[in-house]
């Protein structure tokens, strides 16, 4: 028990900069955004801005969890946005055109997304393409594939069990929150209770040395890209469920960048090695809160990326050891001056 408490504390300590930024943002909203924290209960479900943030943030966070493992192996997955579109297209087309049951639609979407993830992994592990190139292929081609599946139109469907995933509620909160909790828990157990996490970190930190130590480096790579595909598939189902349709052009647009930002804000280095799942989730929620804040402050969506970027830079600066050392030095010299 003591050990568990210790590991929770050390996890919180390692994401403290993202948490600090998050807290500052919430304080800002408490003061300057009227009605930000207003919550209502209707039909056993919570409504309000924080709930909206959790709902949409969960979708990004699910993708960020998969992205975290990929980045920990010193890779990157640019195809997740396109995979969201493909998964949505598969699910919606099966429901609308084939009249398939909801569980078949969902299972098919997840399987297709995972297979595309495996494809990325195979290009990287076996053909040794650079991750950024290998996944760029699918990032570009993926939307075309989604268009092919939907036949070039926005495919709408009417199945309440499918729309429940985006719009329903569970335990008083939107369903995606529960999905995120499940994905994060499964991922944490798989990486921290088995050696998989150690393998991922060692492959990301020093691939040749890991191979010489007997780590199945190719299998590890395949695994993380397949998992990233699966996570993107889940996000695809949530997105497709929000709008009760598959929009091959706009679903998951720029999601890969949000997910990468969430991972980086969460303290996982793009150079690979150590990763922090909790950090990525905090990062995703921070980004979503920021987006919502700007929206509620009537910042035009055209200029919203600028203040967003400022926050990202701030968090990254706080994490940078160089900057921190300078700050400490400055404080010391000021103390010594008088």
């Amino acid at each position: 028990m003591k050990h568990l408490a210790g590991s929770i504390l050390s996890t919180l300590a390692s994401v403290r900069w993202a948490l600090l930024a998050f807290a500052l943002l919430l304080i800002f909203n408490m003061v300057f955004t009227p009605g930000f924290f207003d919550l209502q209960v209707r039909d056993g479900r919570l409504y309000g801005t924080p709930v909206d943030i959790l709902n949409h943030g969960s979708k990004v966070a699910i993708v960020a969890v998969g992205m975290t493992l990929v980045i920990a192996t010193a890779g990157v997955d640019l195809s997740v946005g396109a995979l969201v579109a493909i998964a949505g297209a598969v699910a919606a087309t099966l429901l609308a055109d084939r009249g398939a049951p909801w569980y078949v639609a969902i299972a098919s979407a997840l399987i297709v997304a995972t297979l595309f993830g495996l494809w990325n992994g195979a290009l990287i592990a076996f053909l040794r393409l650079q991750p950024i190139v290998a996944t760029l292929i699918l990032m570009v081609a993926g939307r075309g594939v989604a268009q092919l599946i939907t036949g070039g139109s926005i495919t709408t469907y009417e199945d309440p069990r499918m729309t429940w995933f985006g719009n329903g509620s569970l335990f008083g909160l939107p369903v995606p929150v529960t999905l995120l909790a499940l994905v994060a828990l499964a991922c944490a157990v798989a990486t921290r209770r088995t050696p998989l996490g150690l393998f991922i970190e060692s492959v990301g930190d020093n691939q040749p040395a890991s191979r010489l130590a007997g780590v199945p480096d190719r299998a590890v790579r395949l695994c993380v890209y397949a998992f990233s595909g699966l996570c993107a598939g889940m996000a695809g189902i949530i997105e497709c469920s929000y709008i009760k349709a598959a929009d091959a052009n706009n679903a998951g647009q720029l999601l890969e960048l949000d997910a990468i930002l969430a991972v980086v804000i969460g303290g996982t280095s793009l150079m690979g090695g150590r990763f922090l799942l909790v950090g990525s989730i905090v990062g995703a929620l921070l980004m979503q809160t920021l987006t919502k804040t700007l929206y509620m402050q009537d910042v035009s969506s055209d200029i919203a990326p600028a203040p967003k970027a400022a926050v990202v830079i701030l968090v990254c600066l706080l994490q940078s050891p160089v900057v921190r050392e300078r700050l400490v030095r400055m404080r010391q010299s000021r103390r010594e001056a008088p």
């Binding site: 150690l198 010489l212 007997g214 780590v215």
Partner: protein, 505 residues
Amino acid sequence: MHAEPAELTSPALLEARDLSKRFGPVHALSGVNFTLRHAEIHALMGENGAGKSTLIKCLTGVHRPDSGSTLLRGRAIAPASPRDAEREGIATVFQEVNLIPHLSIAENICLGREPTHLRRIRWRAVRQRARAALQRLGLSIDVRRELDSCSIAVQQLVAIARALDIDARVLILDEPTSSLDRSEVVNLFTIMRRLRDQGLGILFVTHFLDQVYAIADRITVLRDGRFVAEHSVADLPRQKLVGLMVGRELDLAAAAPAHAAIQPSSTPLLEARAIARHGCVEHADLSIHAGQTLGLAGLLGSGRTETARLLFGADRLERGQLLVDGQPVRFRAPRHAIRRRIALTPENRKDHGIIPSLSVRENIELALRARGRARLSPAASRLLADHYIRILSIRTPSADTPVSSLSGGNQQKVLVARWLATQPRLLILDEPTRGVDVAAKAEIIREIEHLRRQGMAILFISSELEEVVRVSQRVVVLRDRRTVAQLSGAQITEQAVLGAIADSA
């Protein structure tokens, strides 16, 4: 301090006063003094973790010292980067070659100071300058070659040539000889003497005692991050030097040779028949028995490391056959060899050994976990790490310290621990004593002997012939990527091995 009249005759060139540096809880340097004079070769000696590398890094601007000062010709300097130090005239060749592998030799030598004309690089001049720099080392190689295609020894010489290319007053060489063969070392020493006679101060770090006495004028000894003594070489006999380094008297003759005649079991544990791989090994035959140490001798580039990699499945075999317990096997990856309980600690510890940002504990348990048999609870994992930290006396603040913050010798011990944890039947040690101080060397050799007596088979690779002769029951000699001789028992002498290496070459 040991003030001697000689100090007055030659003025100080580079001086460190009371330098201290901490890394987290580790005091890498505490109040170290060091003086390098004009026209001298000054050896910096100490065990692993004594602070030699840290001192050099503080002098050259890689690290900022926490306190203390550095003076160059009596003027305080505080270089913020190696480039800053270069501008002051302090050139450094670090232990691990820090060049750009995919650039040519010429580009590497002139990088950052290319001769230009109207802001365009004059490639012809770049090549000429590189050629001139290499000629000072007595080397004539095609400077257009990609650095990566050269041997480590040549890369090291290129690094030295690069350092010489600036107008240096101080030259710092951090273990420059650890990758060089004998003739290259002699060559380097000739150059070092010439540079000294031109008035350069040369700071020289090495673990080879012979080399210190062959070339150095003065010696400074560090221990546990502290200054211990400074002497001229003539005033410091070997026994005393070693005693100062380890902090106790050491009997060098104590480690007796282990040439007990042993009866090998009939089937070798591992047998290689005419194994080959293009560009690595042309033809190697060897067999290793349980309870035996097989030494692999040969000059640099003779295919020692390459043979070991083939035996371990790190590179794919193209011709020939491997047998484990008389059964033919095919290793397509190291983990197939590991399943047969073969282990290898690689020559290049930094690139192929440690996982730098993971902790000592995680580095130790990595191979065991990767083999997939053992289920380690967190408690068992801590016990395992503590056990090996204790029995190999690994110097680390804790098992959870990142392995990258340990000194080279301790990183090597972590790698040995990683493999001992898998309880291998055959342990391949590729240069386990390279870059390791005398005391740790003795420890490693004792450990090898101990493991062998327990029935482990050892394949021991070392450039230091004396070590190979001391620990091996049998020696296989490689020349030009082929096995050329096998010696056993009383046949094993330095002369015999040298003879086999040199035979008709």
